[in-house]
Amino acid sequence: MAGKKSRLDGVVTFYASHHAVRAEKVLTKQGYRVLLVPGPREISPNCGVALQFPYAAVEQVRDLLIRNRVQFEAIHQYRLEIDEDKLDRQ
């Protein structure tokens, strides 16, 4: 039974879910472990989907998104509280 997990992550917010899905594809292809998660309301009022990634890779992630021309709103540090078994894992 998976429980609550708390850790410091990076969260990318987007204006539109198309961009979130594109970001997921670009970063996964480069071997990053990322997850699309419900966007934390306190961070962004936008599309509802945000991308969680290991914050240690923030510079590489930012660079990859820009180089692949994936539009995003902002990159945040975020302490994510998540039920592990509710995560979408593709």
Binding site: A16, S17, H18, K25, L36, N46, G48
Partner: protein
């Protein structure tokens, strides 16, 4: 041919059959995915967003588009063409088009012209081959020319227009090139970057092998069109104004996810098979038909003799038999599905000299076979013999 077998030669209207993956993708969305793309953060919504994103990515690969978000989904080519035409032109602009356009281009242009909003030049194409001379377009250009709008492959004559040359002429005139790729997307290689196409309208249910109700518009980066519809996008929900970024700018309202699931599968089938391979296959079918047709007295085939200039759309008439009668006999007696009449393209038939009766049209597709072409030639031979014998 097996008795009772259907020979489907109406792929220019809509393709049939579809690859099995198209059907399973649609069923999979209904059974397992559900969800509205871009509207929520839960896993079913995300799965739907991925599905739409995968279809967009596949199309971007097919047309060599750098950023898939420059492709907006629509319900068909017609809607895409209307977004492009009505969203780009301003009062006082001049537009150049060809004399073989489908009504999906001609009607919105004639509407704006009749309103007194734009000036329109229809450049005559060759009555024999349908070809359009880029120099004629150059000569038609005016200081206020803002758009050159042409089809890529004719849905009546089956000829191809020289997009790269037309793009160069359009850009020299300070205009955009809008291309209606309804008959070529999926059947003929299209590289929007290499060709210099600014706006490309495509439909999903023809050679892209998706279901009806799908299509889209590629918009080159930096071009801003006024949206045709405004509404919910799931993005920038705090704003009461339409977002300015693509594809949301042109995608108001919930998308046809069911259809796009199928379209994505159709395009992935094409990417795996290769559009070059599809093109080669269709050329062997066209060559077989043209060679046989040349030996049949009383059969007139329209369009260019050169295979390189042709797509799998073949218009013809039989001496002494109306197109509607030929179409009926082909269906009832031979099980061959064709489209007869004017094909929503009165201008093309006027150019060809086949207005108002029209022609019989074979729309060959990637699943047709040489055997089916031979069978169709036999059927036409029978109809001509019956005509000669007064039956």
């Amino acid at each position: 041919m097996t008795p009772g077998k259907i020979v489907y030669f109406d792929n220019a209207a809509t393709s049939w059959p579809k690859p099995p993956d198209v059907q399973s993708a649609i069923v999979d969305y209904l059974e397992n995915v559900g969800g509205s793309p871009g509207r929520s953060g839960h896993r079913m919504s995300i799965a739907a967003s991925r599905l739409v994103g995968d279809a967009r990515d596949a199309l971007a690969e097919l047309f060599n588009v750098d950023d898939p978000c420059q492709i907006a989904f629509t319900k068909n080519s017609t809607e895409a063409l209307n977004i492009a035409i009505l969203g780009w032109l301003k009062p006082g602009d001049h537009v150049i088009t060809s004399s073989i356009e489908h009504n999906s281009v001609m009607r919105p242009l004639r509407f704006l012209e009749a309103q007194g909003s734009i000036e329109l030049t229809v450049v005559p194409c060759s009555p024999e081959t349908g070809s359009m001379d880029p120099d004629d377009v150059r000569r038609a250009a005016r200081p206020n020319t803002q758009l050159v709008a042409v089809l890529h492959g004719s849905n009546v004559i089956g000829n191809l227009l020289p997009l790269a040359d037309l793009a160069a002429v359009a850009h020299d005139a300070g205009a955009l090139l809008l291309v209606d790729a309804s008959q070529t997307a999926g059947a003929y290689p299209i590289d929007v970057a290499a060709l210099g196409v600014d706006l490309l309208a495509f439909t999903g249910h023809k050679a892209l092998l998706g279901p009806t109700g799908t299509g889209g518009l590629f918009v080159r980066e930096g071009i801003d069109l006024r949206p045709l519809a405004r509404g919910g996008t799931g993005s920038r929900s705090e704003l009461e104004y339409q977002p300015d970024f693509l594809p949301d700018r042109y995608e108001a309202g919930t998308l046809n996810v069911l259809g796009l699931a199928g379209l994505g599968a159709g395009v992935r089938y094409l990417l795996a098979r290769g559009v070059d391979g599809v093109r080669r296959h269709e050329q062997t079918l066209i060559a077989r038909f043209l060679a046989a047709a040349a030996t049949l007295p009383g059969l007139t085939v329209y369009g260019p003799p050169d295979l390189a200039e042709r797509i799998g759309v073949i218009s013809f008439n039989l001496a002494g038999v109306s197109p509607s009668k030929v179409g009926l006999i082909l269906d009832r007696e031979f099980g061959i599905m064709t489209r007869i009449g004017l094909h929503c393209s009165p201008a093309a038939h006027r150019t060809l000299g086949t207005f108002p009766d029209g022609t019989v049209r074979f729309g060959l597709g990637c699943f047709n076979t040489l055997c089916e072409v031979d069978y169709a030639v036999t059927a036409l031979t029978h109809i001509l013999e019956d005509q000669r014998n007064g039956r």
